[in-house]
């Protein structure tokens, strides 16, 4: 069966230990998590997990029902790339001298639609948000000049479909 990159969105209570509980569901089935982001959601006191992993569709269905059945999980969904709007962020730390010495770097920054976050005497930091491939392109372009540090965040994503979490919570209250 074909492994597809899925984005799993999980709305949960904001409780300690839930990250561990959700992670074990993947670990138990030997699925490597490509990226994981946890943040507040649009609803007060409700957290949102965005988990990205490769697996066949049959498996993602089972994983989502296993996540969904956890007591503190309000609702879990899965989406393909086509069904969601997503991006990642990356930071590049570069030697400051390069900014002044190498004209090309300034062109690269402009062309890549990235931002300079800070500049000081020793280094400057570029921030780039976008698809993973765009960040990789920028990385490859900067690599010959020397990257002091690089970090990329997990995927953040919103679905094209409605999630209706407020409706679920309302229904549960009645």
């Amino acid at each position: 069966m074909e492994n597809i990159l899925y984005t799993i969105s999980v709305y949960t209570e904001n409780n300690l230990g839930l990250l561990n509980r959700i992670a074990t569901i993947f670990l138990k089935r030997h699925i490597n998590i490509e990226s994981l982001t946890v943040s507040n959601s649009e609803i007060e006191h409700v957290s949102r997990f965005i988990i990205v992993a490769y697996m066949p569709e049959e498996q993602v269905k089972k994983i989502v029902t296993q996540i969904d059945k956890q007591v503190e999980v309000i609702k879990a969904y899965y989406h393909t790339n086509e069904e969601s709007i997503f991006l990642q962020s990356a930071l590049f730390k570069i030697k400051s001298s390069l900014l002044f010495d190498m004209r090309q770097i300034q062109n690269i920054i402009k062309k890549s639609n990235s931002q300079i976050v800070t500049v000081n005497r020793d280094f400057f930091v570029i921030e780039k948000s976008g698809r993973k491939e765009e960040i990789e392109d920028l990385y490859n372009e900067l690599l010959p000049y020397g990257i002091m540090q690089f970090v990329r965040s997990g995927r953040i994503s919103v679905s094209k479909d409605e999630m209706r979490i407020s409706d679920i919570l309302k229904k549960q209250l009645n």
Binding site: K62, V71, E72, I74, Q172
Partner: protein, 577 residues
């Protein structure tokens, strides 16, 4: 959360008690209707034990000999009484010793609440004496867990714990309480929990699925029903019986479903699975509609999934949506409590009979009887068989006893040959296969149903995994009858070695102690038998005894359990020898 009656609420508010967290915990247990708990004390749980001392009139604590004994006893109690079992232990090794039983309760859907002490919250993460991260350890094997670090959290969390353990598909909950939370003062008020916004214990039934199921069932030519423990947990025995009798469909049980329907019922075709009966296994691959009720198509039931009931349309009645399409794809899934879904199904069913189809079951039963059952129940050789012991027990207990079995050959024989007239009569470790389960579980089962006869069937191997619980029997006078089916082998592993490893008996030979002396050491009436005429008398004597009794039966050493579906084989490839 629902409040208790108004008057109670007011009176509680009037005199809001300022009490310790430990006392609050005990009051929570009492408020939940708990009158019996199993446990073992230690440093980090001592404030709670101090309150047990004060509340001993209202809450009885059973001191087991090991924390594993405590959790298995709580499981046995839960399974015989239908109530939530409670086990309590200290931090560190006390907590980790519970883990096997928690995993057992998780996979067999048993409602238990485990309470563990924890080091003071200021010491968390410092590798303090007897500190262990039991929350992380227990996460994959609990339905829910929580660490309490403040006394004020205790009532709310305990209320949630009981609600989660017992509702929907039941399961184990672990609550870890730091020592400072036990000592800390708080204003006590208890409100039982009846709702958690993120948790749907019983999903709403979809009537269209019920109708689709009825249509498939009504038009079936060779339907077959496999029922599981969901019928017992959902208290749906009556609805299930009505469904079977109206539809006229032959049915068989999983290991954990046993006793939900009388073994004598003409439509009860026995047990499915690896050591189940011949007919229901073979005919699983011949039926045209396969109906699973409150069961999860475990691999010990299905054998190879690639060849399991491929010819059949599958209908799955199940409370847990995560079980639907997990192992076997269903054509119709009716999600909900079996009690409600079967009741909704009944009026839409046609009254039918399937005489030719049932003849097939009978014909295959005849083959199994001639090849296996007859020789097991009525042996002509000198050595005793495990099955003839069970047959005699059936006679003496009249099928009214609770049979608690451990794990191994004796478990399969006890499950295959025991007669059951009423539900909640078979308690065994199914999903986890925990050796050492039966003795402590039988103690709990007896306390959960004191009016019933409770017989623990154990192997010589499994008995010795928790043999120290004879001390619990001695101290509590629990009138548990213990039958050791003793072949001086780890019999099931030996059977596999014989069949699949060219008889290389690697470390399965047991040099056993004198179990009679051990029993007598614990002041339990004990007897060893190895001859047929002694056996009859001994079983009569054991069942007649008002107290605990240990019967060590020496059985044929190298007997095998058949039929058997070899690992990876299809249910229809079940072997008779």
């Amino acid at each position: 959360m629902k409040t208790m009656s108004k008057t109670k609420e007011v009176s509680q508010k009037d005199k809001k008690l300022k009490i310790s967290g430990a006392e609050a915990l005990v009051r929570c247990l009492i408020a939940e209707g708990v009158d019996l708990i199993y446990g073992y004390p230690g440093g980090a749980i001592m404030p709670v034990y101090d309150e047990f001392y004060k509340f001993s009139d209202e809450l009885h604590h059973v001191l087991t000999r090991h924390e594993q004994g405590a959790i298995h006893a709580a499981q046995g109690y839960a399974r015989s009484s239908g109530k939530v079992g409670v086990a309590i232990a200290t931090s560190g090794p006390g907590a980790t010793n519970l883990v096997t039983g928690i995993a057992d309760a998780q996979i067999d859907s048993t409602p238990v609440v485990c309470i563990t002490g924890q080091v003071g919250s200021h010491l968390l993460g410092s590798d303090a004496f007897q500190e262990t991260d039991i929350i992380s350890i227990s996460t994959p094997v609990t339905k829910w867990n929580y660490q309490i670090t403040k006394a004020a959290e205790i009532p709310g969390i305990l209320a949630k714990a009981f609600y989660i353990a017992r509702s929907g598909r039941p399961g184990p909950v672990l609550i870890d309480i730091t020592k400072d939370a036990q000592f800390g003062e708080m204003e006590f008020e208890y409100t039982p929990c009846s709702h958690i916004r993120s948790y749907v214990p019983i999903p709403a039934m979809d009537v269209s699925q019920v109708m689709a199921a009825a249509q498939l069932i009504n038009s079936a030519k060779k339907p077959f029903v496999v029922w599981g423990q969901g019928v017992i947990l959902g208290k749906a025995e009556k609805e299930f019986l009505a469904f079977i009798e109206k539809s006229g469909i032959p049915t068989a049980s999983t290991l954990l479903g046993l006793s939900a329907m009388s073994t004598e019922h003409p439509l009860n075709m026995g047990m499915v699975g690896m050591h189940g009966n011949y007919a229901p296994n073979v005919l699983t691959n011949e039926c045209d509609v396969l109906i699973g009720v409150g069961m999860r198509f475990d691999d010990r039931v299905t054998g190879s999934l690639h060849t399991y009931a491929k010819q059949a349309k599958v209908i799955h009645f199940e409370i847990d949506p995560a079980e639907v399409n997990k192992n076997v794809k269903s054509d119709v899934a009716v999600i909900g409590n079996a009690k409600e879904t079967l009741a909704a199904l009944l009026p839409h069913l046609k009254t039918k009979t399937y005489p030719e189809w049932i003849e097939k079951f009978k014909a295959l039963y005849k083959i199994e009887f001639d090849e296996v059952i007859n020789g097991q129940l009525n042996p002509t050789s000198e050595g005793l068989t495990m099955a003839e012991v069970i047959k005699l027990l059936n006679v003496e207990t009249k099928g009214e006893a609770i049979i608690v079995s451990d794990v191994g050959q004796h478990q399969m024989i006890a499950s295959r040959y025991s007669s059951f007239k009423r539900s909640n009569s078979k308690i065994t470790s199914g999903g986890l296969g925990t050796m050492g389960f039966a003795l402590p579980a039988a103690i709990g089962a007896k306390m959960g149903a004191p009016e019933r006869e409770v017989v623990a069937i154990v192997g010589d191997g499994s008995f010795q995994m928790t043999i120290q619980e004879l001390g619990t029997i001695m101290q509590t006078s629990a009138a548990v009858k213990i039958v050791v089916l003793n072949n001086d082998f780890l019999g099931m592993v030996r059977q596999w070695q014989e069949l699949f490893f060219d008889k290389r008996y690697a470390y399965t030979v047991m040099t056993n102690p004198d179990f009679v002396k051990i029993g007598e050491g614990y002041r339990i009436q004990s007897k060893r038998v190895s001859k047929r005429d002694e056996l009859v008398r001994a079983i009569k004597e054991m069942i007649a005894s008002k107290d605990a009794y240990l019967l060590d039966v020496s059985v044929t050493k190298e007997d095998n359990v058949f039929p058997m579906i070899p690992t990876g084989a299809s249910v229809s490839e079940i072997r008779l020898k």
